[in-house]
Subunit: 147 residues, 2 copies
């Protein structure tokens, strides 16, 4: 079972895609993360949902979550404004993480190892220097246990 | 929008549930993680898919992923044996992480903050000292942007 046998199509966003658009793309995809590509269309990183939520959570709440309680509810239009202020590159982790990208002929063991190491629910798969799709940890797990 | 309005039912496993059963429960749930409960049935932690994949990946592959290539494919029955050797408590992170548990009256901002801080795709929700379900980061994001 190779990566190319497990891929599903995945939408992509660029480093300069706006936060609101990126969030919508992720929500519509039903995948557990968003593949971010560079200028050449090659995978740069994967943003899981919790990372995309960073678009919406001000830094001071991350530092002192007790303030989240007094923050109260936010209105949808306020959120949309907040999202529109950010671009994808604004929520990437500061240090370049190990890139969750595999090759089409990588084995299921290699995919599982990468997911467990990088703590990612999704990896991008390239073949002949082009993105061919993504593999979810959920589908890998299902296939591995034969469901 | 409060946590209790966002919960979906979630299956649970215990700390001593076997790896094979835990993996099957997760695969059947279609949730992005598995709620692990303690002896009292209260949430202990949440295991996302990549953490459950730890059941299947030997430690030495995590340390040197280049070995994953020569490891080759594994047979289903071999995997089942490997899974059966482990219990849930064997794949928990060594240090106790912040527990991904919220209260029914926590707001969407509190949930988003917790998910972004803990890097979790799923939080358990308790009310009156009982588990009432779980909230996924995906559904929170969809609701926040009004989809």
């Amino acid at each position: 079972m190779l990566a190319r046998d497990l891929v599903v199509p995945c939408p992509t966003v660029g480093l300069d895609t706006g936060g609101l658009e990126a969030t919508r793309v992720l929500a519509e995809s039903e995948l557990p993360g968003l593949v971010v590509v560079d200028e050449k269309g090659l995978p740069y990183t994967v943003l899981p949902h919790h990372q995309v939520l960073r678009f919406l959570v001000p830094d001071y709440l991350l530092e002192d979550p007790s303030l989240a309680r007094v923050y109260g509810e936010v209105a949808s239009d306020e959120l949309s404004r907040e999202l529109s202020r950010h671009r994808v590159r604004d929520v990437l982790p500061e240090r370049a993480p190990e890139i969750p990208v595999l090759e089409g002929d990588d084995t299921s063991v290699e995919i599982a190892t990468a997911m467990a190491r990088i703590h990612t629910p999704l990896v991008a798969v390239v073949e002949n220097r082009a993105l061919i799709g993504a593999v979810t940890a959920a589908s890998l797990l299902e296939r591995l246990i034969g469901q």
